[in-house]
């Protein structure tokens, strides 16, 4: 039998072809018109996993999109790793900004371009190919593996939380391995030990029963867009400090050790500014770029719409306007508390000339993982062997609800072994994934599983 490394080398083209097929599914979880596409994607994954002879394999229905669960429980007296990924993707709009269609994967400049390429299909698929390589070289896995792929990560994983609560025994493990974060820099292996939380709301403002003529009624009824603008403007100041009363009550200030760790990472304000195409960077006074991205909470408006948005002019006084807004949270902020404070602030800012509705779309608490734990130290060595240099330890600004839930419900350390790059356009047009990191990910996963089997048994 070939070694795992030889097996990976020989099967590069086939692995890539399978990734292309996976990326063709427009598994947009938020859009009801894509329900069948999400399901087809899940079934294709299940059928592929069946070839890897798991001891258990299920496509588990939920109130939303299905969960895929597979297990290889054949290693006596060996530890268990739970691998998590999500096969759903963000919406692809605005479509006109894509150079090639989002669901027709295109390979150029060493990258594969498609919605979901880096977030998260390309990343979790590397682990599936690592399992295949181990099974086809060693003929067995060195430890017990459980695999959980969900289809609702991009919409808040609302059905995963109850699933995890109900299946704690089935999912029992010694560590969780997730690749849904980013390399800090190209070719720089990275382990992430903290994620911000999220509190996502939708605000709708209504002023009148119907749209009116802005000439006839302008001056006697309020304008819902201006009322909404007033509310939104009142939630954050011009330096990015959130002005919701009590918002910072539970925020833990960074330790000097942590600030030093971040300060040691390469980071250049002007390069970042140019790469993002911003006239000027932005953010809270007194915090570095990385501190603002990883250690500080934020408030952003993710979308707004009201009145006439076609081309040309329409002299309408609209009846309704709405905005989606979200806050990134840091320890020890809690979703429920922040949602309540935000809603109270929104209602306090709303003028009496309009009616306001606030809907809580989804949320997740922030999480931090101890970097001294065994699986994280093993992951560091696996990455060092694969990349030829030791990893850096970072936190990230994004949110993966399952990380918080695993930490809370499974009570094990979580390894966040990111394979993507921030420049790869997750959630944006022209999303892509570097193929070198796809193959490094397969290798690093093989290394991690082998070494963790050894280290956990002997510890």
């Amino acid at each position: 039998m070939p070694s795992a490394t030889e097996y990976i080398e020989r099967n590069r083209e086939r692995f890539l072809g399978e990734l292309v097929t996976l990326l063709r599914f427009p598994s947009v979880s938020t859009d009801p018109s894509h329900v069948e596409d999400v399901r087809n994607c899940a079934e294709w994954l299940r059928d592929g996993l069946a070839m890897l002879t798991p001891t258990r394999l299920e496509l588990i229905p939920t109130a939303g999109h299905p969960i895929i669960y597979a297990a290889w429980e054949t290693a006596q007296n060996a530890p268990t790793v739970l691998i998590y990924g999500h096969y759903d993707v963000q919406p692809a709009d605005p479509l006109e900004l894509w150079e090639t269609p989002p669901f027709e994967p295109s390979i150029r400049n060493g990258c594969i371009y498609a919605r979901g390429a880096t977030d998260n299909k390309g990343q979790f698929f590397a682990h599936l190919k690592a399992l295949e390589a181990l099974l086809n070289s060693d003929n067995r896995l060195p430890l017990n593996v459980k695999l959980l792929l969900e289809g609702e990560e991009e919409i808040g994983s609302m059905n995963l939380r109850p699933f995890l609560e109900e299946h704690r025994e089935m999912l029992k493990c010694d560590t969780v391995l997730i690749s849904d974060t980013a390399l800090y820099q190209d070719d720089l292996p990275t382990l992430c030990y903290g994620l911000r939380g999220l509190c996502y709301l939708e605000v709708t403002v209504r002023s009148t029963a119907t749209d009116l003529h802005s000439g006839v009624f302008g001056g006697v009824v309020d304008n819902p867009i201006l009322a909404l603008a007033h509310i939104l403007s009142g939630l954050r100041d011009g330096y990015g400090r959130v002005t919701i009363p009590g918002f910072y009550d539970d925020v833990v200030e960074p330790t000097s050790e942590e600030r030093q760790r971040l300060a040691a990472l390469p980071s250049d304000v002007d390069t970042t500014r140019r790469e993002l195409g911003a006239p000027l960077l932005f953010g809270e006074v007194g915090y570095s770029l990385l501190e603002r991205r990883w250690l500080r909470p934020t408030l952003d408006v993710n979308g707004i719409v009201g009145g006439f948005i076609g081309s040309g002019a329409k002299t309408v006084l609209p009846a309704v306007a709405s905005a989606k807004l979200s806050m990134r949270l840091v320890p020890n902020q809690r979703v429920e508390d922040i949602a309540a404070k935000a809603e109270a602030a929104i209602r306090a800012l709303a003028p009496p000339t309009v009616n306001v509705e606030v809907h809580h779309l989804h949320g997740a608490n922030p999480v931090v993982i101890p970097i001294e734990s065994l699986p994280i130290q093993v992951a560091a060595r696996a990455l060092e062997r694969t990349f030829g240099r030791p990893p850096v330890f970072v936190r990230e600004g994004g949110t993966i609800p399952v990380v918080e839930w695993c930490a809370e419900l499974l009570r094990v350390p979580i390894v966040l072994m990111g394979l993507g790059l921030e420049s790869e356009g997750a959630h944006a047009p022209n999303e892509h994934f570097h193929l070198k990191n796809f193959f490094r990910g397969i290798q690093a996963s093989v290394e991690f599983l082998r070494e963790y089997a050894y280290a956990a048994s002997s510890s």
Copy 2:
């Protein structure tokens, strides 16, 4: 031959059928996909006018939608009336709020429902039927009539102004007759002697080159929606007073005579509030409801869009947001001056973290017509004979650019003989027109043309 009144009575059903046909054309001037529909509507009108044996009839191309011009210049030593109307309509969206499709006219409760029913097809068509009634009863018109129908009123009449300038001689007249305003109340005949002007801008705010992940980059780049909200909030206070520096410099305060005339009109704050479905009315302190609608300038946002506006949640940090905003002007504000002041205020409010573009979409200066002038006094008597009660004199909050241009270029009094009602949903879903006012309009037009021929000759 029948009298004009008998002719109208005998032909009611046919007139109505023709109005239905006219309303079926989706002549939405702002939407490039409706160019052919606008043209088809113009051609149908021209073909109908040809049956009325004008001395001149033309469909005149412009850089945009065509102008229809017809003339009956057969009355020696008689005055000339120029009748104006517009055959283009506002967009029909939001379509889902229409009870019957906007371009499939539906008659119920004595009204005809369709986009353009009251604004302006139903109103100007009454004058065409008046001409037909006069020609089929008296066999001739009592004075010279010129008819001008444009197809770009809803987008600022940008090609009409140069047309008027070039054809001053052709359009020479003693008065202009326009029905594109409203009855103050059902069954209350109304003459309008003033209109607000309009200054319409589009503001676009960009923060970064592309959309970004709100978790990854939230906290280091500005949010274009929040920057736009800040700009918009800074243009008007919570009482509707515009905060653009210099905005009120040229505003003429209402005279006590005018305030008394308005105060005598029936007006009830609570009824208005309930009819509009507003939780509370709104507007400048120290001015009555009617003063705020007619005599005071305003600022409204007509539309806003940015980021993700689909259903569900998307954690995007958008790159761009834009808003359409318009100001209603009163004497002696001037469009160019206000546009410059507004743009300066917008730029002053924009934070350095974003780039801002301001586009001037269209505008018109405000206008007031002396109510003592002969054509207005004749119109008052024509309306009294038709409705059985004398008209009230009002101003209106809306804008008809052609009124200002006729006042400036043709230098004659303009009769604004409104036949619509404000409750008829101009620019909104379920637009309709009361059929009783369509037929009253035909009768009033006959009365006006006959009496003005007599009064102007003998004066």
